[in-house]
């Protein structure tokens, strides 16, 4: 369980996150040309250049060696903070690391690999499924659909993507998902969304009576839930550092 530790002696916790990030797609490897064009942009919209973190994408360049240090210096002069480099050859990767920058695999290759790993996880999930899942489990694009009542003692999880339950989740049952959880029925058990740290995940249900609600480790117990929200359709999100429960209207 990915619940936040209460104790004060935990120095840090690792959490996954999806942060907005500007990608600076380089079409030229010439630092001088970049400098001239940046100066033009800076005068147009100075608000953008506030030590904005950027990822330098060099995927479109086919130069094996790059004056990465000079390009970074140009960026910093114009209040852009390069934090990582995406794509490029092995020497580019090495020089990024030498400059204290992160390195991301190129998009095309990365997407292919991510899809492959999702497929592999889905396969293994299906192998375990008959153990404790009596009703039909349908695998569709990213969401796992469970039909029937999730009963006390049962656990239904979607290790990738969303979980959709068409039925009730009874007290003593637990539903988990990497993404959001949708319950078309009463939610009386425990619901943990965003189990891999996705703070954008939500929980939606027709009737809220959950023992526990959690989004990316931030949780509320039944006792903490505003009594006016109980027994009604509700949606749960992480907002302003806590779980926000709103009527589903």
């Amino acid at each position: 369980m990915n619940l936040k530790a209460d104790s004060a002696d935990v120095a840090f916790t690792f959490k996954g996150g999806m942060l907005p990030m500007t990608v600076m797609e380089l079409n030229s490897a010439d630092p001088e040309q970049i400098r001239q064009q940046l100066e033009g942009k800076l005068s147009q919209s100075p608000a953008f250049f506030q030590h904005t973190p950027v990822v330098l994408s060099v995927e479109k360049l086919d130069t094996p060696n790059l004056a990465l240090e000079r390009i970074c210096a140009v960026c910093r002069d114009h209040k852009l903070l390069p934090v990582a480099v995406r794509g490029g050859t092995d020497p580019v990767k090495q020089s990024a690391w030498a400059l204290g920058l992160g390195w991301f695999a190129p998009v095309q290759e990365e997407r292919a690999r991510r899809l492959a790993s999702i497929a592999a996880e889905n396969d293994s999930a299906e192998d375990q499924a008959p153990q404790d899942t009596p009703d039909e489990v349908v695998e569709s694009s990213g969401a796992r659909v469970y039909r029937g009542t999730v009963r006390s003692g049962q656990q239904v999880s979607a290790s990738t993507g969303d979980l959709v339950v068409i039925g009730a989740v009874n007290a003593g049952a637990e539903v988990l998902a990497a993404g959001s959880i949708h319950v078309y029925g009463a939610l009386r058990g425990r619901a943990l969304a965003g189990i891999h740290g996705n703070l954008g995940a939500g929980i939606y249900c027709r009737e809220l009576n959950a023992e526990l609600l959690s989004v990316a480790g931030n949780y509320k117990r039944l006792e903490d839930i505003d009594a006016r929200r109980l027994g009604m359709p509700a949606e749960v999100h992480f907002a302003s550092e806590q779980l926000e429960i709103k009527p589903l209207a």
Binding site: P134, D135, G153, Q154, A168, R188
Partner: protein
């Protein structure tokens, strides 16, 4: 080919054995050749409820371990034709039961009987799992209180996953809800869960509703299944339950608070 029906609940003390005795008696009274098996090894009760405790020689464990033949262990009911009891052992524990042994006994009984009623022990451990493993249908006994409903919910989850039908992906076990100890007056006053609450949470078909009744306690202590007490509300409710189990459409009774007449109010009459 007999139908195997497990009477189960998860929680103890809700009326499993009373219901198993009453249902098997009711089936036999309807002319079905029925055997009721006590799976509660170590806490044998069914023989007391059926009033045959003085005639127990061999038991389920003796048969499984080959110390007695099946026909030696089966006790013929004295009141109804076609009804037999297979008692549990009081001196052993549940580890004495083996899946192969139970399967073999059920296979033999299947050829001779119309209905095999398995009286499950409380809990979700070995005894309870073996009682339900080979079942075709299940009667889940529930009292109108939250802990009983939650335990029944847990049992329904196990019925759908830890049984032979589930493991072989055959047609799932047919699940029936039997609500016992229902007291309409206490439901109205909010002390007990309502019929609708229970049905909504468990989401299975209602087989019967047995009102809380003095007749049940009397029947248990006398060793006469309450189905024989045709004048009692509980006896009638079990007769209705058996009729529904046989596929008949019988309207629900005893679920609404009775308006008290002048005489009952004056003399405080109790339910029979």
């Amino acid at each position: 080919m007999a139908k195997i029906i497990v009477v189960t609940s998860g929680k103890g003390g809700v009326g499993k054995t009373t219901s198993a005795a009453a249902i098997s008696t009711g089936l036999a009274l309807r002319g079905k050749k029925t055997v009721v098996i006590d799976f509660d090894v170590g806490l044998r009760n069914l023989d007391l409820i059926m009033g045959c405790e003085r005639r127990v020689v061999y038991d389920l464990v003796n048969v499984i371990q080959g110390e007695a033949g099946l026909n030696q262990a089966l006790i013929r009911d004295k009141r109804v034709e076609n009804l037999f009891i297979l008692p549990a052992s009081q001196t052993r524990d549940k580890d004495a039961l083996t899946q192969e042994g139970v399967e073999e006994i059920l296979a033999k009984l299947r050829e001779e009987f119309d209905y095999i009623i398995c009286d499950s022990p409380a809990g979700i451990e070995r005894g309870a799992q073996l009682a339900m493993y080979f079942a075709d249908e299940a009667v889940v006994v529930t009292n109108p209180e939250v802990s009983s409903v939650r335990d029944s919910d847990r049992i329904l989850g196990l019925l759908a996953s830890k049984t032979r039908r589930a493991e072989r992906s055959d047609d799932p076990i047919k699940e029936h809800l039997l609500i016992t100890r229902y007291n309409p007056d206490r439901v109205t006053s909010g002390d007990m869960l309502t019929l609708d609450d229970i049905r909504e949470i468990l989401a299975i078909d209602l087989l019967g509703l047995i009102p809380e009744s003095e007749a049940v306690l009397r029947a248990s202590n006398q060793g006469v299944p309450v189905t024989h007490d045709a004048s009692s509300d509980a006896g009638q409710a079990y007769t209705d339950t058996v009729a529904r189990l046989l596929g008949e459409d019988v309207p629900l009774r005893f679920h609404q608070a009775q308006k008290k007449g002048i005489l009952t109010r004056m003399f405080g009459g109790s339910r029979r």
